[in-house]
């Protein structure tokens, strides 16, 4: 009997075990333990989540910036990047007849970076439409911010690629690539929408989220009523509109609309007599999830300890073509103590544009606005204003007023001089390649090695299937 009992128990155990294993195996829906889900913020987002998205927009606007600057600077023979990746001295200079590839870091990084930022802005816009956590007025603060950033990023895409997809909110139904002019029309209307979103606020109203890199725009003089405000650490929404208009001026100039640009400039922080460095900035950090300045390169310490290997080398023509005494050359470049060559290329100077890997990079500073003012004035045929503005820049660089050999320089002379000042004021800031392209001057660039070619536009990334 006892044995029998044991056997029965054993058999029952088997049954119970099988039953338990079978019954206990209804799995719960998996959630990602490693991060918040996109769906979770798209509906009923909390204020905290909205703010995280807004900060994400600002943070990702820096994505791809370092590669974009070095690559376009190389194409424009402003610099060489000597580093571990041979494509920086090969593909980008068209070595031995090679063409730019549409699936390499130099053609994809800035595209991915800009659209990542645009996507985050679109996610924020969608989240705003699907939450009741703040009222409509406050939502407009976020919207104006997000649209301004989308417009800025689209301008960057245009500069590198000459075309852009504007309608990208739905990843499964992307809009077409629009031509250069058509995209600029969209950009300018987006900037105006943003301005209108931001216009319903009082002079002391601030964003509900923190915003970084806009410290220069905070008016601490009291003129805007700041004397009654105890918080000068955050930008007001009206101060942000100054930035929005600066970008609008940029878009207007690129669209060839001189008088429009002059209007936008007058509503921005453009100041012909103000500090050239004043403006909105990308800020960097080394903390978790943050990014370092992607253009900074360690300076060579000495001839014994040179840094030739991961280094931005100044193109010799930029040094040689400079007017004697131009302070911008010494400020932005230094002689290499041991100028070794790489890939058959060489240069006497290395970059000194930024002091450290957390130094901020200007998004758009007064110096560029003054140059835009000069350009807009040329486009609007206010040649005298253009000459004045150019001389402001020249005098800041300690090279005095330009002698054109005539008291009334021609539009062509001023354009040439304006571009030359842009070349030195905005060196290694992702302008030269686009400036030469839009003025059809890329063919004036020097060829450094037999078999090299000049490119002035990046191919659209392969993944776009164009």
């Amino acid at each position: 009997m006892k044995n029998r009992l044991i056997m029965k128990t054993k058999y029952h155990l088997v049954l119970v075990l099988l039953f338990m294993v079978t019954a206990s195996c209804s799995f719960d829906e998996e959630i990602d333990p490693n991060g918040p889900s996109l769906e979770g913020v798209e509906t009923n987002a909390s204020l905290r989540q909205l703010n995280e998205l807004a900060i994400g927009v600002q943070a990702t606007s820096r994505n791809g910036h370092g590669i974009e600057t070095a690559a376009s600077g190389t194409l424009a023979r402003e610099l060489y990047l000597f580093d571990a990746d041979p494509r920086n001295t090969g593909d980008l200079l068209g070595k031995n007849g090679i063409q730019l590839d549409n699936n390499s870091f130099y053609s994809t990084a800035q595209f991915i970076g800009s659209y990542r930022c645009i996507k985050n802005a679109n996610v924020l816009l969608e989240a705003l439409d699907n939450t009741q956590v703040i009222d409509e007025t406050d939502k407009n603060g976020y919207r104006g911010f997000a649209k301004t950033y989308i417009a800025y990023e689209l301008i960057q895409i245009l500069k590198s690629y000459g075309t852009a997809r504007v309608d990208v909110a739905d990843p499964d139904n992307l809009g077409p690539f629009l031509g250069f002019d058509a995209t600029l029309v969209e950009i300018r209307s987006l900037l105006n929408e943003a301005q209108s979103d931001l216009s319903g606020f009082g002079p002391l109203d601030q964003f509900l989220f923190p915003i970084s890199g806009f410290g220069d725009l905070i008016d601490t003089s009291g003129e805007m009523g700041d004397d009654v405000r105890d918080d000068d650490t955050e930008i007001t929404i009206q101060e942000f509109i100054l930035f929005n208009r600066a970008i609008a001026a940029l878009a207007a100039v690129y669209a060839g609309d001189g008088s429009g640009a002059l209007t936008e400039l007058s509503n921005s922080y453009f100041d012909l007599t103000g500090s050239l460095t004043m403006g909105a900035k990308f800020v960097f950090g080394l903390g978790a999830g943050d990014q370092p300045n992607g253009v900074f390169r360690s300076p060579s310490a000495s001839a014994e300890e040179p840094n030739n290997a991961d280094q931005i080398i100044v193109h010799d023509s930029w040094i040689n073509d400079a007017e004697a005494g131009d302070t911008r050359v010494a400020a932005k470049a230094a002689v290499r103590p041991s100028a070794s060559a790489q890939d058959g290329l060489n240069g006497t100077h290395e970059i000194r544009l930024y002091a450290s890997n957390v130094a901020p990079i200007d998004i758009i500073r007064n110096e560029e606005l003054i140059l835009l003012y000069a350009e807009a004035s040329i486009l609007a045929n206010n040649l005298g204003d253009a000459e004045t503005a150019i001389n402001v820049i020249r005098n800041a660089a300690n090279i005095g007023d330009k002698d054109y050999g005539t008291p009334t320089p021609t539009e062509a002379q001023l354009t040439t001089e304006m571009l030359e000042q842009r070349r030195y004021s905005l060196w290694c800031e992702n302008h030269r390649m686009f400036d030469l392209r839009r003025y059809d001057l890329s063919n004036t660039l020097p060829i450094d090695r037999a078999g090299d070619q000049v490119f002035n536009i990046m191919p659209i990334p392969l993944s776009e299937n164009q």
Partner: protein, 1000 residues
């Protein structure tokens, strides 16, 4: 017996209906002796032929069997012995002599989760590698590395030559690209973890991804010495019963078990060296070539030309100076020229009684690499206990603890890290002295941001692992009857791995100065895997014993948890090596948890060993799928017909002629996280922000393989010569792919079911005892196999596989309908004169045309064993981007030749760097001397049974046109499409061993 019939009454209610038969009883007693030694044979099966009435001999070979009536034919069989049939007329004592068999034909192969079958009856091409084949020739660091050339249909590539892993095993081509492309490894019923664990060194080296960090794969923790045999289920038709984890095949590893009888103690000591297999050598520089290499004429700009001339003349002066004072420095030799010492000590004991058998093994391997300060050591201890609790219950325990450490230093791809040796060496000029001065200060490398001597001496990349693998199997014989046997088995186990990684780059490293200012990364990674099978097996005999049916069914559960934490510090305090001694700290954490649950059932029928058929089905669900509770079904069916076992077969020389066919399906779920679209931290100005990243697919389904296999096996002259041929066609449907989505969507990659893929191939193997005599014995084996793949459906436009190459500029794997999945594609401009004609072209295919292995064993004068294994890989191309770097640094060894100079003038596209990666290699060779018994006895007396001495080598020579270190290479570790792309790997090594084996 009575007891058991009462159990069956319970069972009748439970599952099946069993006829209850009573029978008369006669008792036969006897002893089974080994014809060769005269000793009793323990635990051999003695069965009344045609029935399932049987017993096993005890430890001395004695047995007692009760039969229903006389006369009776007894079938006496066991692995390792030739089956013997004995007719017994009278009850009482008998003596039976059995002979040891020449293995192969009677080998038992796993066919289900709870059943096995004689190889002669198998319907699939399951490859088995014995302990002797695995480690009998030469020393082996890792299990996967030991399989080179030993199995048809397998393709092995090494992502790193560093000791201690970095190997990828592919069975019958690529079956998954972003899912798991590595086979499922099962050790004694425990699903084991074979992860490559990233260390975070990419944050100092600038490597693009974790899989460029060249981590080892953790199969390296398994000691090859413990292994009794390895069965490789290569395709879906054999592996279907493993369901959703088996898409890339299954490797079943069985460790050594104790045998009854006298306790055997084995000791062995291997001592050897690692040296670089293939040095590329120094470019034979001349003053003229130095000048020409670094001078760029520039007629348009005389000033620039003058500067270039001055720089080139400075290089020439440095060159002349170096030649005058001691010569050029061969940095390749300096870095890769270390002679690494290898020592492996193994001690095992096995034995047992009729109730309990044990195997206890311990080993310690310490291996130094060909780069100073690299190496691998592994301490492994194993105990396998089998205990027969009663006639009803058996329990087996297999326990393994492993401690392994490795130091892998820095190799492979990087960006501006100045760490990877190959990268650094490509730009290091042999006239620059980089050795430290008397005060220990290392000079800067003027041409690259890293001094390789400094990195070798001061930077660290290490990992250590503590690992427990515990398996348990509990068998209950619910019913043992003449015609029916039912057993219930619970089998499972735990694999727990605690891994620590450590990367340290001093703040004085050239690339760190002014940048990170020192870097340290500490990883703490825990993995727990748990799996359980519970099933019942019913053996039924019908048709007067002519038909055996084995039916099994059960459930399976698997859970895998991982928690990877990587903390990194940069801007280190002077000389400090801990994460907290830094200014900037970053911590990453990645967790995953996955569960699978499945049902399976299978029935096998065997009619007189003539016709053997199997039908099976598995249902699986997994939390990795979009719908976590949806079951996916995986059927299988197979049929084998042994022509030579039919009565009409009278042709004696051919003892086996088998035709077999099999069909099966398996699956592979997406990698953890593929279903999620999550946000990642993206911070600025000290504020926490969120950003979109990868796009997931909530509806993701498992990719499934359906494989059809046909084959034939022929055995000639009592299987002295055997021949095996198999053809397979495997279709992978709904292949899970990560692809680059239009990045204007804000996402860069998406993982989803996108494509179909077909692999087909042929595998042939011949093995035979060519010559057998007292003083000369020669056994030889030849294997030949190839695989072809084609993408047959692709729902999206053709795309470059993310993370598998360097863009279409330099070459990348490219998923394209109608093309092999292993193709390498680049952007090629045929005449190099303009952008219009540049187009994507296939420049190569990493799939070999075919592979062959030639394996030989000789025994001379009974005491000397000689063996060698020759491997031939024909075709298959690699993309050698190491050469891109050495060309750029002007250090390629062939640059003094016109061909080398001509290459420098061509466009740096994929076509320029594709090379044929075929080779012929003497993979293993060994000579052993076994001391004759009388000498051993004379020297050591009775205590020592045998002494064997030997020398052996691995990778002794390689014939190849490939210009770099080793055509077996992968820059992206073992994952997905990885092999065949080279960027400055850890060079592979040659090993030489001296062996001493003593048996007590």
């Amino acid at each position: 017996m009575k007891k058991q019939s009462q159990i069956s009454k319970g069972l009748l209610l439970f599952l099946f209906f069993f006829p209850v038969v009573l029978f008369a009883q006669e008792t036969i007693t006897g002893k089974v002796l080994n014809e060769g030694t005269g000793e009793g044979v323990p635990f051999i099966n003695i069965v009344e032929d045609g029935t399932n009435n049987g017993t096993a001999s005890d430890i001395d070979g004695n047995f007692s069997l009760t039969v229903s009536n006389l006369p009776v034919t007894l079938r006496i069989f066991s692995i390792g012995f030739t089956t013997k049939l004995v007719t017994v007329e009278n009850a009482g004592a008998i003596t039976v002599q059995v002979t040891e068999s020449l293995e192969a034909l009677e080998e038992i192969v796993v066919t289900g989760l709870g059943s096995s079958i004689k190889r002669a009856n198998l319907a699939n091409a399951v490859s088995t590698v014995s302990s002797e084949e695995l480690i009998g020739n030469t020393g082996q660091t890792t299990v996967d590395g030991a399989l080179y050339g030993k199995v048809t249909g397998v393709n092995i590539t090494a992502s790193s030559g560093a000791p201690g892993g970095g190997t990828a095993l592919r069975l019958r081509g690529i079956s998954s690209i972003n899912g798991n492309n590595q086979p499922l490894f099962i050790v004694d019923g425990v699903y084991i973890n074979n992860v490559e664990i990233p260390s975070g060194l990419r944050f100092a080296s600038g490597a693009n991804r974790g899989n460029e960090e060249n981590s080892g794969n953790r199969l390296a923790d398994i000691d090859p010495n413990d292994i009794q045999n390895i069965e490789i289920l290569k395709g879906a038709s054999a592996a279907a019963i493993y369901g959703t984890r088996a898409n890339a095949g299954v490797v079943i590893i069985t460790t050594k078990k104790g045998k009854g009888g006298k306790t055997k103690i084995r000791f062995s000591q291997d001592t050897g060296i690692n040296v670089i297999q293939n040095k590329l050598g120094l470019r034979p520089w001349t003053a003229t070539s130095v000048f020409n290499s670094f001078f760029t004429p520039n007629p348009d700009d005389p000033a620039a030309e003058a500067r270039s001339r001055a720089a080139a003349e400075a290089e020439v002066a440095a060159f002349n100076n170096a030649v005058a004072s001691g010569g050029l420095i061969d940095y390749e030799d300096e870095i890769y020229g270390n002679v690494g010492f290898i020592s492996e000590t193994k001690l095992s004991a096995s034995g047992g009684s009729d109730k309990t058998r044990f195997y206890i093994g311990g080993s310690y391997r310490d291996e130094e690499g060909i780069i100073k300060n690299t190496g691998f050591d592994r301490f492994s201890i194993r105990s396998n206990i089998d205990h027969k609790i009663s006639d009803i219950f058996d329990v087996s325990l297999s326990s393994n603890y492993v401690r392994s450490n490795s130091s892998r230093s820095f190799t492979g791809n990087e960006n501006e890290g100045g760490l990877s040796f190959g990268y650094t060496l490509a730009f290091t000029r042999p006239w620059n002295n980089l050795f430290p001065d008397a005060d220990g200060n290392y000079p800067n490398n003027p041409n690259y941001p890293g001094n390789p001597i400094f990195v070798r001496d001061q930077a660290k990349n290490e990992d250590s692992n503590n690992r427990f693998i515990q398996g348990i199997k509990f068998t209950t014989k619910l019913l043992t009857r003449e015609k029916d046997k039912v057993k219930f088995v619970v089998n499972g186990g735990v694999d727990y791995l605690a891994n620590e990684t450590y990367v340290y780059v001093p703040e004085t490293h050239q690339a760190q100065v002014g940048n990170q200012e020192g870097f340290v990364a500490e990883g703490r990674n825990n993995f727990t895997q748990f799996n359980l099978l519970a099933f019942a097996v019913w053996d039924h005999t019908a048709l007067d014993g002519n038909l055996n049916l084995t039916t099994q069914g059960g459930v399976s559960y698997l859970e895998q948890q991982a928690n990877l934490v990587n903390s990194r510090g940069s801007n280190l305090f002077g000389g400090q090596t801990s994460v907290d001694q830094s200014v900037n700290q970053v911590i990453d954490q990645t967790r995953s948890n996955q569960k699978d649950f499945g049902y399976f059932a299978q029935i096998e029928g065997n009619y007189k060993d003539q016709i053997i058929g199997t039908l099976g089905y598995r249902l699986d669900k997994s939390t990795l799928n979009g719908d976590v509770n949806k079951f996916y079904g995986f059927p299988k069916a197979s049929l084998a017909i042994n022509i030579a076992n039919f009565d009409f077969w009278q042709f004696e020389p051919i003892n086996q002629l088998k035709f077999r066919t099999a069909y099966g399906e398996t699956g592979s779920s997406a990698a953890f996280g593929s279903a999620f679209t999550s946000l990642n931290p993206s911070n600025i100005g000290g504020n926490g922000g969120l950003s979109v990243d990868t796009r997931g697919d909530r509806d993701i389904e498992p990719e499934t393989s359906a494989e059809f296999e046909v084959g034939m096996d022929i055995g000639i002259l009592d299987s002295r010569i055997s021949f095996e041929a198999s053809y397979y066609n495997r279709k992978v449907s709904d292949l899970i792919l990560s692809r680059n989505v239009p990045s204007s969507s804000g996402f860069t990659t998406e993982t989803t079911n996108l494509a179909d893929l077909v692999n087909e191939g042929l595998e042939l193997a011949v093995r035979g005892d060519v010559y057998r005599s007292d003083n000369f014995y020669w056994n030889t084996g030849v294997q030949f196999y190839f695989n072809r793949s084609e993408v047959t459906r692709l729902d999206v436009p053709a795309f470059a596989q993310p993370g598998a190459g360097f863009g279409t500029g330099l070459g990348t794997f490219f998923i394209e309908e109608g093309q092999p999945v292993t193709q390498i594609v680049g952007n090629i401009d045929p005449d190099g004169d303009g952008p219009i004609e540049a187009s994507l072209q296939q420049v190569g295919n990493v799939e070999p045309d075919f592979q062959m292995a030639f394996n030989n064993q000789f025994t001379l004068f009974k005491q000397i064993d000689v063996s060698f294994l020759l491997q031939w890989k024909q075709g298959g191309e690699n993309l050698n981007l190491s050469r891109f770097l050495t060309d750029l640094g002007q250090t390629s060894p062939d640059l003094e030749t016109p061909e080398g100079q001509a290459r420098l003038g061509t466009a740096a596209n994929a076509e320029r760097f594709v090379e044929d990666a075929g080779y012929v290699r003497l993979r293993e060779a060994a000579i052993y001397y076994r001391f004759p018994t009388n000498i051993v006895e004379g020297l050591f007396g009775e205590t020592v049974e045998g002494v064997k001495l030997g020398i052996s080598g691995r990778n002794l020579f390689t014939i190849t046109d490939y210009s770099s270190y080793d055509p077996e290479v992968s820059v992206n570790g073992g994952a997905g499409l990885s092999s065949g792309i080279e960027v400055t790997p850890f060079p592979s090594s040659q090993q030489f061993y001296f062996h001493l084996n003593v048996n007590f």
